[in-house]
């Protein structure tokens, strides 16, 4: 039941101003092209969720798409800070950015609860840290059998969950392998979902370690070769490490960033097919 759409159609149809949107991919298979399409279509007031906001979220935040970020680690991995993210938090540029901050364990469990149709998850987490004082979505909970005190976090149920995968078949069954992070949970927790894929094939040959999302659990599939660049797609292309390095000076400077936006995203047609 997943419909095969172009990236442009899919984003136009699935992502609306004000939506809660999660783009997931843990280092691997980051749905960067979909993020750029959201910028290109000028979405705003989004609540963006992502465990590890990195370059693509820096770009979306810098482009003014987001009013809130829910996350657990925000940085340019191996390089340094996200300067657009900092500029938004510290100087409200281009728009103010609210944050809701968790740990990875907490976020992973929030997605798992969302995928499970539960309002919350229980974990051993955050104990003794300063996070619960800053984040309302972290609360204590008591075991009804032992009386032990643990931590509860609410489910996340995005309006739209977006992932990138290696392949889909023509019916829209989606297959990904290698590090698959929290992507299954993201799709299952979301009201609507989009999987961009490297290619659409006639048949999904089984692959060791692969996760398959059946077509009836995905709203739309869009074929976007290199859609995870500068991250990587195992079996297709390697991580473009120099892009991460080169992002740093661009992200540091509002003018260079605006220029980058104009030429590389708004003026580009990566979603043409």
């Amino acid at each position: 039941m997943a419909r095969i759409l172009s990236l442009r159609e899919a984003v136009a149809e699935l992502v609306h101003d004000g939506d809660t949107v999660a783009l997931e991919g843990f280092t691997h298979l980051i749905p960067v092209a979909a993020g750029h399409e959201i910028i290109r279509q000028g979405r705003k007031d989004l609540t963006l969720i992502r465990m590890t906001p990195d370059i693509v979220y820096d770009q979306m935040i810098g482009a003014g798409c987001a009013r809130k970020l829910i996350f657990s680690w925000g940085g340019n991995p191996g390089v340094g800070s996200l300067h657009r993210f900092r500029d938004a938090i510290q100087n409200s540029w281009p728009v103010p950015l609210e944050i809701e901050e968790h740990s990875h364990a907490g976020m992973a469990n929030r997605y798992a609860a969302g995928a499970s149709g539960l309002p919350f998850a229980v974990l051993r987490g955050y104990t003794g840290t300063d996070l619960p004082a800053q984040t309302e979505t972290i609360k204590p909970i008591e075991c009804p059998f032992t009386g032990e005190r643990l931590t509860a976090v609410p489910a996340v149920n995005p309006d739209v969950g977006i992932i990138h995968a290696q392949r889909a078949d023509r019916a829209g069954n989606v297959q990904m392998w290698g590090i698959t992070g929290v992507q299954k949970e993201t799709v299952l927790a979301s009201a609507r979902s989009l999987a961009t894929v490297e290619e659409i094939v006639d048949e999904l040959e089984p692959v060791p370690g692969a996760v398959v999302l059946p077509q009836w659990a995905v709203t739309a599939v869009a074929e976007v070769p290199r859609g995870a660049h500068p991250s990587y797609a195992q079996g297709y292309y390697e991580r473009d490490n120099s892009y991460y390095q080169e992002w740093d000076p661009i992200g540091r400077d509002r003018e260079r960033f605006e220029q980058w936006l104009a030429t590389e995203v708004r003026g580009a047609e990566r979603s043409a097919r």
Partner: protein, 251 residues
């Protein structure tokens, strides 16, 4: 024979030596990953490397560039989801050693990777945040911290407790019901700090070759105590240096 080496190399070798063969080690990227991979190539061939991206038992043939590098998935015994790595593997206390760094550590081994200065909503410096660290610090049997010493990073009290060490001192972890022991060692460029058995305050127990107590005291933002039987780290062996440099050359 005396070899030339940098203080970073000493720090990496010191960290690698802290990893017992066969230990299950939750590895962060950067120096911890280099140290773990060095250990696996020297004294600890059976070290089990676990990355938060879901790779159990990775055996990378080069240094991974991120915690989600493809070489980790390719060489792992098993690749699992991120919820599973935290829930089934980290949380129950299956992991022996968690390897952490940070922007700030304080005298009780608490780590800050969230904000520096100002207050939370208007900080002077916004850091990346928690990632996997709070639960690594809580649930691994032991925690190793690796950081370069400076008065800005080794502070009396961190601006924000992202990951709990010993809290405000001995007994805090037990009171909070944490199962792991907490940071048993802080490996720095100037030497090694360990929690005092009575107070849990980080105390200088070993100097790196060529460093002095004065240097270490100056690099700490609190009145750093020095162990009665202060030792000195063995310098890197020829083999350790050779393997380390070959590893770094793979990046």
């Amino acid at each position: 024979m005396s070899l030339e080496f940098t203080s970073d190399e000493m720090m990496t070798v010191g960290a690698a030596r802290s990893l017992e063969d066969g230990a299950k080690c939750f590895v962060g990227i950067g120096l911890p990953s280099t140290a773990a991979n060095l250990a696996r190539r020297t004294h600890a061939p059976n070290l089990v490397l676990i990355y938060e991206s879901g790779t159990l038992g990775a055996k990378p043939d080069r240094l991974p560039l991120s915690i989600g590098d493809g070489v980790l998935a390719d060489t792992a015994d098993s690749v699992i989801s991120v919820p599973e790595i935290f829930n089934y593997w980290l949380q129950p206390g299956r992991i022996d050693i968690g390897f952490l760094g940070g922007a700030q550590v304080d005298k009780f081994g608490n780590i800050n990777t969230t904000v520096i200065g100002g207050d939370y909503s208007n900080p002077k410096v916004r850091l990346p945040g928690a990632g996997g660290a709070p639960e690594i610090a809580a649930s691994c049997r032991e925690v190793l911290i690796v950081m370069r010493m400076s008065p800005r990073s080794f502070v009396d009290r961190v601006d924000f407790v992202t990951s709990l060490g010993y809290g405000t001192g001995k007994g805090d972890r037990e009171e909070l019901g944490l199962r792991g022991k907490g940071p048993v060692k802080v490996i720095t460029d100037l030497g090694v700090l360990r929690p005092d058995p009575d107070t849990c305050e980080l105390t200088l127990t070993e100097l790196s070759p060529g460093s002095t107590v004065e240097q270490a005291k100056e690099a700490a933002g609190w009145d750093l105590k020095v162990s009665d039987d202060l030792g000195t780290q063995d310098p890197p062996s020829e083999n350790e240096l050779e393997v380390l440099r070959a590893l770094k050359a793979t990046v």
